[in-house]
Amino acid sequence: MKQYAKIIWALWIILALVGGYGLIERLVTGHQLATYSSYVPWGMWVAAYIFFVGLSSGSFLLASLYYVFKITRLERIARLSLFTAGVTIIMALVTVGLDLGRMEKAVSVFYRPHFTSLITWEVWLYTAYLILVIMALKYAVRKKLKKLDPQVTKDDDQRLKRLMTYGIPLVIAFTGAGGALFGTISARAAWHTSLYPVIFIVGALLSGVALMTFMAWAFCDNHDESWHELLQFLGKLVLGLICIELILEWAEFSIPLWYGVGSEAELVKFVLFGPFWYVFWLVRILLGAVLPLYLLMGKKDAKSIGIASFLVAVTYFAVRLNLVIPAQVTPELRGLEHAYLDPIGNHLSFHYLPSFFEWQVLMGVVALGMALFYFGQRYLSLMQTLNNREVSR
């Protein structure tokens, strides 16, 4: 990976500059430059938020396989997974925070919560999760950074295991609740499905494990036997999760489409054959499933596993976009799209394509995530563990 260091730095500088400007614009102009509207009120930032939450949940659950269930071949990746869980949940919260109309009032969810709302539950669960991840990281990292008394190390391990054990139901709860956040909205036919909590959990596992598999491949310089074993194991995990995810996606799409009648069928047709058909067929299916399946079932070498996992992790964003956007592009009352227009910002439109400004802000969030990763690998010896270059406890 060292040979790519300059490219990564250059990429980060571009993201930080372009994204930083976008973040400033967001603060100064609010939501005026965004192309989401009152009729498509949730745009790409909401899709990015659930994407980052999924990455966080998946990487946390992967880490728990080592810390709770003692699958020792995952030891090299466990701490990096836990750290990734922390970084991506911060990215998710920043993204959804920027999506709020009144960011400065977000804290009121704590002092005047309204627990009938799933957003309230989500905020409370994310907060508990973030605290848990920070505490778990403390116990996972400090023994690697300085020599501790054996008893302290033992206590830390026990605390870490306990925290990670509590974390599993917590992660399942907020990931499933993320699906329920959409699934409970009966006004939007495409969202109103009991499948969503399950799809969200499987999707989180798939995207999170795929991200960690890619990182295990990309950021490790010590390609020893245990590294190959690790990648083979993770590759199989990704392969299995792609298959489960595809079955669920088949159920989600085929049921409303089977007889081709009803508003839900129209929405599925919009995803499959509408103006953004390529998001589903090229990004989601070809790059996100067919090519990774080919790579994972073919040569099964480290490079194939790494590239396949990268494709799965990145293109899963297309799944999130297809979940959030198409459900909102059809008027609930026919003719509403022409009834009253916004001549200034076109914020009464059912047509949505993210603006450059929205991409800019997202770039800023990604740059923030990359910066956090840099500090993590610099000060928390995450890569040393991945490279197996430290004395094990």
């Binding site: 009120p41 109309g101 009032k105 957003i119 009966s186 006004a187 609930e332």
Partner: protein, 306 residues
């Protein structure tokens, strides 16, 4: 304005004068619609009701506005939790003039992108058998609103009189309620102004001055003064969700909702659905009264006569 400017010709002077008068007349006219509602109360115009006299009406030719005004005053004497405000819209009489939309925009000082009562204009059939229908769509003030339980901070709720309200001071602008409304009756205040990117060129300043005379004064939704402002920390209702409240601030002072007052076809009726003698109760009980999307299970308090 510099009168010594060399480019100032008699023609441009004249054009400015005409534009100035037009702008003043336009905004005066817009403002006047609000004044007229009050004037009508004082000096009602006798408009014959085309359909049929309503049951219980003492005078079959009485303007429905007069009757509704009386009913409103009667309802306001009752405790708030004994009122249930409702609206009936006669689609057969609606001409699609959108004066209700304009009146609402004026009354609530709605910025671009925010609308409480659009009129959906739909053309049906094929030539030569073609017809147009007009469906004004205010907030349905549902009995079981889908928009209120989703709010993470309890910033929106159904009031004792049945009106679904939003506390702008509490709303965090997550827009979850917008996604939850089956009638798409909520809109988000993006912080735009009617004068954004508008009125450039030689006469821009004059046009902007006139437009700002409308745009800048506060609105009085919920009986409170709201001066919008964009910025790092915006001033409400910028960044908030907004919706129709049946002009709750007007009801408080005994005035009918603006859309009812401005309806030129007398197609919008308003009153207390808990009052069996009220016009809206009579109309809502008619065989041709229907609700939008009854399958949504929200039990709207807005009825349509079809």
């Amino acid at each position: 304005m510099n009168k010594d400017r060399p480019d100032r010709t008699p023609e441009s002077e004249e054009r400015r004068a005409v534009l100035g008068k037009m702008a003043s007349a336009t905004f005066a006219g817009l403002m006047l619609s609000g004044v007229l509602a009050r004037a009508q109360d004082a000096a009602p115009q006798k408009t014959p009701i085309p359909a049929r006299p309503f049951k219980g009406s003492s005078d079959a030719n009485q303007d429905v506005l007069i009757r509704m005004q009386g009913e409103l005053e009667r309802a306001m004497q009752k405790p708030i939790n004994e009122r249930r405000w409702g609206m009936v819209i006669d689609m057969r009489k609606c001409t699609g003039c959108a004066s209700c939309t304009v009146g609402c925009v004026m009354e609530n000082k709605l910025p671009p992108g925010v609308v409480y009562r659009p009129v959906i204009d739909e053309e049906k059939g094929t030539y030569p058998n073609v017809t147009r229908t007009f469906l004004p769509r205010p907030c349905m003030q549902c009995e079981t609103p889908a928009c209120t339980p989703v709010c993470p901070v309890g910033a929106t709720w159904k009031g004792a009189d049945g009106i679904v309200v939003i506390d702008y001071d509490v709303c965090i602008g997550c827009r979850y309620c917008i996604t939850a409304c089956p009638y798409q009756a909520r809109t988000f205040d993006f912080g735009q102004h009617w004068t954004d990117n508008a009125a450039k060129g030689e006469d821009g300043a004059l046009a902007l001055k006139s437009a700002r005379a409308y745009q800048d004064p506060p609105n009085f939704e919920y009986g409170k003064e709201w001066k919008r402002r964009e910025g790092i920390i915006p001033k409400s209702p910028v960044g908030n969700t907004r919706k129709c409240t049946f002009c709750a601030h007007r009801l408080k002072v005994g005035m009918l909702p603006m859309c009812v007052s401005t309806c030129v076809g007398r197609a919008t009726f308003f009153g207390d659905l808990n009052d069996p003698k009220a016009l809206v109760s009579e109309l809502a009980g008619m065989a041709n009264a229907t609700q939008l999307k009854p399958e949504a299970g929200t039990h709207p308090n807005v009825y349509y006569l079809v």
